[in-house]
């Protein structure tokens, strides 16, 4: 079982967001970077599939700056076998450029399965997985919460509005991971030791023409302060009137 996992280095979800002076990027001062949580589910799932198969290889591929090596090492410490960094000065905002570069790296790799997170928590584009599948000419199943592989095909469950959808697909395929797929492991001491000796190849990023650029970034409007209408049952008519006439939710 040969599995590739596409991962990304992103700001910690606890980050206090501040826009940089250029007005279109994140101020990285005091920001901690982590492995994108959805990609962490993907790495964990790849390791479990390999363990279930009893043999194989898990390769992790990232597009990012040199600092992404640290993120790849985290995946290697969890148990992945080798890493590839497609090194860029910055990750382009155009998901297609990222997908092109990943596809070029992966297409002759003979992978049975390619896993991605369903999205990166920094740009929330949901693009790279499906575009990568398209570039590779493979079926794509997004946002899966369970996955099983058997005899050259996969079965996945996806959460849909009010229920669960079960889909079947042939391998190889691109599958994107949702929360709930598994509980990612913490790197063990021996895993951290071993990760230092695992191969990590660094290659230049080439995504072709970049068609999308971020031109501005802003913080959401501050939430308005709550208002106390009154107390007890006497306040209910006024609350109903406000919900109907002012908030227009009734």
């Amino acid at each position: 079982m040969k599995i590739a996992v596409c991962i990304k280095r992103v700001p910690d979800s606890e980050t206090r967001v501040k826009v940089a002076n250029d007005g279109r990027s994140l101020d990285e001062a005091g920001v901690k970077f982590i492995l994108n949580p959805y990609d962490e589910f993907a790495v964990e799932e790849a390791l479990r599939r390999k363990e279930a198969a009893g043999a194989g290889e898990v390769a992790v591929i990232a597009v990012g700056t040199a600092a992404s090596q640290e993120t790849i090492r985290t995946a290697l410490a969890m148990g992945a076998d080798r890493g590839v960094l497609l090194q860029a000065d910055a990750v382009p905002a155009d998901g297609l450029a990222v997908a092109r570069a990943l596809a070029a790296e992966l297409q002759d790799g003979g992978y049975d399965l390619i896993l991605c997170g369903k999205m990166a928590i920094d740009d929330q584009s949901y693009q790279v997985g499906p575009m990568l599948a398209e570039r590779l000419g493979l079926p794509c199943v997004t946002a899966v919460t369970t996955l099983s592989l058997e005899g050259g095909k996969g079965v996945a469950e996806r959460e849909i509005e009010g229920g669960v959808e079960v889909v079947e697909f042939p391998l190889p395929a691109v599958v994107t991971a949702d929360k709930g797929l598994n509980e990612p492991r913490y790197p063990a001491l021996k895993g951290i030791m071993a990760a230092k000796k695992k191969p990590l190849a660094v290659k230049p990023f080439d995504g072709g023409t970049v068609g999308v650029a971020v031109t501005g970034m802003g913080l959401p409007a501050e939430r308005q302060e709550g208002r106390i209408v009154g107390e007890g049952a006497a306040a209910v008519p006024e609350l109903v009137r406000l919900l109907r006439e002012e908030a227009k939710v009734l």
Binding site: E14, A29, G30, R185, Y186, A188, L189, K190
Partner: protein, 564 residues
């Protein structure tokens, strides 16, 4: 207005906190090597416990000595150096002022210049004030507090930078692995056992359970920082005496983005502390509009209702400070104790069979100059040199490792601490007499008063019960403990078992004392009894000094400091 805001008044009895403290759980902290219960076993040659300035400097120096030796045809070969850290990521449990003396950086990185070091800026100027409730009097800067040539820095950033250097040198850094016990073989320290993770409130194993790991090493260097658990346990086990007991201060610190810039480091004495407490405040510019504010109070304070967090909040309302913070934003909050005992509180030896004790764990802090980072780093460098010689000799017993004590004793660490040996103790006599005596000590280069001033342990100092003056934070300039803990980045899961060992039968007045003592709101008085909100804990260790004993919990728990 009197000087007791947040410190209470009235006299309704007295007690010594020591009477209600549990003993150090030595039987859990010192284990024979090979004891049951460990998952992975890992072998290192040298293990540093704690990735602060001391441990990381030691690891860097040792890796370099080994590399040079191998390059020169030496026979050491591959030497595995490990650094254990309880925080989830490097620097997240490190907190300091800090104005840093670059001396140890220069020694550790002779090829780099000051501009390469992870400092924010050279000290741009300095001012010292004596505060009253509404006013301030500028004082001449005491000789011990002159900071020309020093740098304003964030210890979080220093630790992350040292961590990169250590990794580049081949050191194994294991973050998220607290050491919970010393592994011993006879009288020899043989390594440590880490703490299990994934336990439920009653100690049951949850889905993500991971057992403790045993890491053995030829030498274990205890660089746990202030009030280190393993260092305390080893000193107690080996009955290593000190002339005075170690004493501590509690520092509570905030980082603010401000509208008004600051172009100097500011220190204050006096208000809002009562005159029978020792301490003061600092305000340092990391950048002109990024300020570090802290208040430090000796834990031998007399009023049971004194609350360092509340005093820091009041401090921001003082005219000298208020203008900086109004319209600004509180970015981070944290707390940490500082070993303040100085020369006479140092353990009689800081080395033994298979073990050395570094930095804050040993007590290498000079209170009059408010410095510890360069002593911690220097002690790590000395430890590395002693360990290297011991590895070369193939003998890591107490004899060869005593070289570490000799190196420290012959260095500026010891001469600096000796010069100021009686300054902190003088303040047990109160602020004014202490101030006069400390001035005389400065003039005589430490010879006054010609005798050692005896200090009790903090827990033995008697507390006067009194009511606290109520304080209601406004949520902008001043914050509650709950909001403060949120700003520490603490996201410890709620289902964690309590890591705090409470004494039996804690009476209500002592519960109230704990409530005020803990800056993170861990303790609450509920129906006259003690409620422990263990996940709130930010590992400052004040509780271990005065209240329920602290033990480590699963890796990654506690604060996540970024620029402290």
């Amino acid at each position: 207005m009197t000087g007791n805001q947040g410190a209470g008044g009235g006299d309704q009895g007295a007690f010594a906190p020591a009477a209600y403290q549990a003993a150090l759980p030595t039987e859990r902290v010192i284990l024979p090597v090979g004891s049951e219960g460990a998952g992975d076993q890992l072998e290192m040659d040298v293990l540093f416990v704690g990735a602060g300035p001391a441990g990381l400097s030691g690891a860097i120096e040792l890796a370099r000595l080994v590399r040079h030796d191998n390059e020169a045809g030496g026979s050491l070969g591959d030497v595995q150096i490990g650094v254990l850290e309880k925080a989830e990521a490097l620097g997240e449990h490190s907190l300091s002022g800090a104005v840093v003396n670059p001396r140890a950086f220069r020694e550790l990185f002779p090829d780099l210049s000051d501009a390469d070091f992870p400092f924010r800026q050279a000290v741009p100027g300095e001012r010292v004030y004596l505060l009253t409730a509404g006013g301030s009097l500028r004082l001449p800067t005491p000789p011990t507090m002159k900071n020309h040539g020093n740098y304003v820095a964030s210890i979080c950033e220093i630790v992350r930078w040292l961590g990169e250097k250590a990794e580049a040198a081949g050191v194994n850094i294991f973050t998220g692995f607290p050491a919970g016990a010393l592994l011993v073989d006879g009288q020899r320290v043989a390594g440590v056992r880490t703490v299990a993770s994934g336990l439920g409130r009653d100690g049951e194993q949850l889905g993500g359970y991971a057992p403790p790991n045993d890491i053995t090493a030829k030498v274990t260097a205890l660089s746990e920082g202030t009030r280190g658990l393993l260092a305390q346990a080893w000193l107690e086990w080996q009955q290593v005496p000190s002339v005075n007991p170690q004493v501590y201060a509690l520092g509570v610190k905030e980082i603010w983005e401000t509208k008004q810039p600051l172009d100097a480091v500011i220190h204050t004495l006096g208000w809002p502390l009562p005159t029978d407490a020792f301490g003061g405040s600092f305000l340092y510019p990391l950048e002109p509009n990024l300020l570090a504010l802290g208040l430090v109070v000796g834990l031998d304070y007399h009023r049971a209702a004194l609350d360092v967090h509340v005093l820091l909040q009041r401090l921001k309302q003082h005219p000298l400070f208020r203008s900086y913070f109004e319209g600004g934003e509180l970015v981070e909050w944290g707390a940490k104790t500082i070993p303040e005992g100085g020369y006479h509180a140092l353990p009689g030896r800081r080395s033994g069979d298979g073990v050395v004790i570094l930095g804050d764990s040993a007590g290498f802090v000079d209170v009059p100059s408010l410095k510890g980072i360069h002593y911690a780093m220097q002690s790590g460098i000395f430890a590395a040199r002693a360990i290297f010689q011991a590895l070369k000799r193939g003998d890591q017993s107490a004899g060869p490792l005593a070289e570490y004590d000799r190196l420290v004793s012959g260095s500026y660490i010891m001469s600096d601490l000796h010069r100021t040996r009686n300054m902190r103790p003088a303040f047990t006599h109160g602020f004014y007499r202490g101030g006069i005596e400390a001035g005389l000590m400065s003039l005589t280069k430490g010879r006054f008063p010609g005798r050692r001033i005896v200090m009790d342990s903090d827990a033995a100092a008697v507390r006067r019960v009194g009511s606290a003056e109520p304080f209601t934070p406004d949520g902008a300039l001043t914050v509650s403990k709950v909001d403060a803990v949120f700003k520490s980045g603490n996201t410890t899961r709620d289902t964690i078992p309590s890591h705090l060992v409470t004494g039996p039968d804690v009476p209500p007045e002592v519960v109230d004392f704990y409530v005020h003592m803990c800056p993170a709101g861990v303790y609450e008085r509920v129906d006259g009894g003690l409620r422990v909100n263990a996940p709130n804990c930010v590992d400052c260790k004040a509780t271990d000094v005065l209240g329920p004993r602290w033990t480590p919990r699963e890796g990654g728990s506690g604060p996540k400091y970024k620029r402290m």
